[in-house]
Amino acid sequence: MDCHLKNSTFKEFSGLVFDQTGVRIFYRDEWVDKLKITLDAYSVAVSEALTRILSGSDLKVSEWYGDLVVLPGGGLLAELPAYAQIADKDVLPVKKKEAMTASEERYLTGRGSGVTQTIIIGRPGENVANNRVKALGRVIDEETGEPLHFVAVYITEAKTGVVTDVNGFFNLTLMPGTYNVQIEFLGYARKKYLFEVYSDDSFVLRIRKTAVELKEIVVSGERHANIRAKEPGFDQVSMKSIKTLPMLMGERDIIKISATLPGIVTVGEGTAGINVRGSSSDQNGFYFNKIPVYNTFHLFGFFPAFNSDIIRDLSIYKGYVPAKYGGRLASVFNVTSRQGNRKLFTVHGGISPVSANLVFEGPLKKDTSSFLFSARSSYSDWILTRIKDPTISNSSAGFNDFSLGINRDFRKTQLSMFFYRSYDRFSLSDLNSYDYYNNGASIILGHNYTNALRGEISLAGSQYGFSTIDRQQPPSAYRHAYKMGHYEIRADFRHVLNEKSTLEYGSEMIFYLLDRGTVLPYGEMSLRNKIELGVERGIENSLFITHQYDISSRINLNLGIRYMVYNPVGPTSTCKYMEGAPRDPRYIEDTLIFGRNSIIRWYHEPEIRASLNFETDRDGSVKLSFNQMHQNLFMLNTITTVAPNTQWKLADYHLLPSRSNQWSAGLFRTLPKNGLEFSAEAFLKLTRNYSEFRDGADFLSDDPVETAVLQGNHRAYGLELYIKRSRRKLEGWISYTWSRSFIQVDGNHSWFRINNGEVYPSNFDIPHSLTAVLNYYFTRRVFLSSILTYQTGKPVTYPESAYYADGSPYLDYSKRNFHRIPDYFRADFSLTLEGDLRKNKFLHNSFVLNLYNATGRDNAYSVYYRTQNGMIRSYKYSVIGVPVFTATWVFKLGNYVSD
């Protein structure tokens, strides 16, 4: 406990003790009324504090069943049943059933840190039948009043753990009795509780941030999370955990950091989009507080489209995906923001070479309602003007983003609203210009029907759009604007049946509205045709249920099914091609017209999701999973990365939804003594109806999209190794992934083949990927961190021979992706100097010095050939081929830990 008292009464002291630790002190007023207490101490054990206070008086303190008794003269007699009876009647609401264990006792009387607080759940006598108790708990930050997500609550006796949800809730089903409970959450003091469980009840646990346990990078919420979490292929990155990692130009990117975990890669700098388990980047679903976000990056992918300062954590499902999520084949990224301080108004911000950001938060109604506002804007043009090339120095680029979150707790209901906008623009000299935006809003209404049944209704809408002006050549100059909408309503229920079974069920309905826009001539000189690319609509309805079942305390099964019905709907018209003929405009036989709201096709199929978690011993587990997914929309992308003007396309009359089966198996092990954690996972993912593009596909032309898209099979497999060391002077993690990713497009007509129907590596087939994230703490306030990345070069198509035509040499290219660019290596370092760690201060400063690409390696982004003046020249293109040094100043009101 912390104690700062001056001339206080003993009553105030004992109240403080009870508030902080839950330890009761029994005394009579007349014994202590003369005491004046002055004590200033941090993290002092209660018994020690009491002994110090009482020294000099004739009172003695004794420990009694977890509480303390103050008696004049001698200490408490070891056995005094009568006294206990009296105390029971007078003070204690319930009768204790068990005495504390020796270790619990030690927490009270021994070391200063860690004091056990007793939580009483229910009332004795209410549960005559001695039924299992269903309890609903909630974990809240003591200082800010914010509910906490992903807090691990571990019940020692039951050998089970639960993790809190977004609103800080967790469910327990326990037999009446007394349990030792541990709570662990990164950045917070580890806390132990004694749960006295009588009958159904709800309760709140308050935990407080710690400024002491600074040196900690925890990627999976808790040390034992790997063993206990029931879902293989699940990762969680909390913003606090990446506070210490190197940044580029002062921007911290939680999504790029996820690429340091096994199975996730980015193919070089400036690539918007990441590849999970050998899958294309459009197979990842990003949700920001339930708002689907279709473009998660600013400025060519160098910066995240989210303000890092409001993000609390990111959870990634890449192996087993619970049935409540669907619609993407490779992964689900859930980004959750903080909810805002419920007790105090605070402001913080940061200034980096490219952007400035500001966060403002505070209570709307103390303890029950809060808001969180963030704004960020760039001023990066000055960097571009310093570059010699006139094309670049005459360019400009910029971005901004805003968000506002409002949360409110009613008695049993929680309401959250979240609004989000991001905007990007850049113009390349007078050649072309782009801008794009995400707009989104979500409203989530959660309700606890009973202590064992919680429901959530959410409404989310998101719009993504871009516009391009291309004026490289006045006669063919054009502008094009694209926008898409994703509107969904969903209901989720979580029903704890008993201590072995939990059901999660619900439904989801999504309406997609894709306005592919119109290509319009730009400028008076332009002769460009006006081309209407059309509007597409689709409705995706899903029902899902998951049964989480503990077969034994060591074996846990998650079995889920999701049934999805997808309908592309009219009004639209579609070309019908001659039977068996290529889908080429020349073979159009007929045009099918679909009226408003008429259903064009029915696509429906069940998806099975299963995972089995077997705890081999206290420190290890084996996990198996099988996962089926469907995806109804994909990107029209002929380039290897994601350009800002990449269109999305719905599955339609000709193009089928893609579907995948994924098998994975994993081995997890912790070595708590060494602070080590280890995992190995293997996966195999088979995808059908994977969309690839014909050579020279042009999605701004008159031709229907299906004339440029071919669907084939995709196969990815790999092995992921991960080792982590935490809570040491040198800590961090190393991940290594071996994986392959192949595509085969082999239709029954040569038109329907790519690469002659032979298997070829995908653009993101990266066999070896090794990442090391290492931090070294010189002191608590000065630390060096590093990220080292090595990857096999990505596959490319290279020329294999040269020949002459019309007097000039030309190149003949290899089969698709037959070669690779040179391997990628990069080392980033950052040195952080934190301001002092005083708890009570107005402003906290930190300075971060960053070195990006320290070795200055000229990593090839691509290698290509051009024929110039009749000579074939080869070029290597690097995005950042030099070390980049930046210094960032971060300030915030409050101390180091305040958000």
């Binding site: 006669p475 001539p521 000189m525 050579d695 030309y810 003949d812 051009r866 293109y877």
Partner: protein, 333 residues
């Protein structure tokens, strides 16, 4: 024949039997050129060359491989529109520095034509001069040519611009295009000093031929960058009939070609920054510095005297730069 990428070579195949046939079953056997082995030519009477007809080619190589093309239809070609230039600046691919010059443009008006696919071949010719006439030389003794020999002082260089210029008007409302950019002539070369002529040959192509050349253009120039695209795997219209699995590179096309020539003697407002390659060498140790392999060694001088200054070929022989000292007949002065 194809060659390795690292060492691109023109490897002609001599001794093939080549014939062109049209869709009316007329056949025209081609003859191999005497001067350029591997180049085959035939003169076809214009009565067989009406736009709208299709042609194909058959080749039998000396080792007996038979190669055949698809038929390619020959579309009619509109007249060449205005060709003009503007002063422009590019970043030099050699020095990385900006350099000025002129960019040529062409207007296309094919409103009365059905052809939608065009290709331009550009041939440039310019006059250049070396710094000195041939007057004095040393080959053991000093000789004086009088009057000085000016025949190697002025030359004309003609070369194809090795870029592909293709245009499709299918995405445009009208079959017209203005200011289509062509080649760039830099002020850092000898091109724009004494006169420059540009021959524009405009061909109307079939869609297949256009797509072949346009893909070649994209592969040759359009790759690289942050948002790079895949190189295209380009298939021509030639097939190996003997071994169908063997790929044949290239494209046989039947094109109607119209041409236009423009001439530029002086570019207003453009400063020429060409310095030339001639560096006279002072013979500090006299003729001893000249070896017989240098004979005839040209010397600087005037009507009466020579100086001990050696002029290498790049100072006195314009043929050294690859041009011809015979004035082209289209040269206006």
């Amino acid at each position: 024949m194809a060659s390795p990428v690292s060492d691109p070579l023109f490897i002609p195949v001599s001794g093939c039997a080549v014939r062109i046939s049209d869709d009316k079953k007329n056949q025209f056997a081609m003859q191999e050129s005497q001067e350029e082995p591997g180049v085959y030519e035939v003169y076809i009477d214009s009565e067989h060359l009406t736009p709208g007809k299709s042609f194909k080619i058959n080749i039998i190589t000396p080792d007996g491989t038979s190669i055949q093309s698809d038929f390619d239809r020959m579309p009619p070609c509109p007249d060449v529109g205005d060709v003009y230039y503007e002063i422009d600046e590019i970043v030099s691919q050699y020095t990385g520095q900006p350099e000025k010059g002129i960019r040529f443009y062409i207007d296309l008006d094919a409103a009365d034509f059905t052809s939608r696919f065009f290709k331009w071949d550009i041939t440039e010719t310019w006059e250049y001069r070396v710094d000195y006439p041939r007057e004095w030389y040393y080959d053991g003794t000093v000789h004086h040519i009088y009057p000085p020999d000016y025949s190697r002082k002025v030359c004309w260089l003609t070369q194809r611009v090795k870029e592909i210029y293709t245009l499709s008007t299918t995405n445009l409302q009208e079959n017209r295009y203005s200011k289509f950019p062509l080649n760039f002539a830099s002020s850092h070369t000898s091109r724009l000093i004494y006169g420059y002529s540009l021959l524009v040959e405009q061909a109307a192509l079939s869609e297949e031929a256009y797509s072949y050349w346009d893909q070649m253009r994209i592969n040759g120039t359009g790759l690289g960058g942050l948002y790079e695209r895949q190189p295209l795997s380009i298939t021509g219209n030639l097939h190996n009939m003997t071994d169908p699995d063997q790929e044949v590179l290239g494209f046989f096309s039947a094109e109607t070609v119209k041409s236009k020539r423009i001439f530029i003697s002086y570019v207003q407002g453009l400063e020429i920054e060409y310095v030339g390659y001639c560096t006279p060498v002072l013979l500090e140790h006299g003729f001893a510095e000249i070896t017989p392999s240098d004979y005839p060694a040209w010397l600087m001088g005037d009507e009466d005297n020579f100086y001990m200054v050696l002029l290498s070929d790049d100072c006195v022989d314009c043929l050294f730069y690859g041009g011809s000292n015979i004035k082209p007949d289209f040269w206006p002065y």
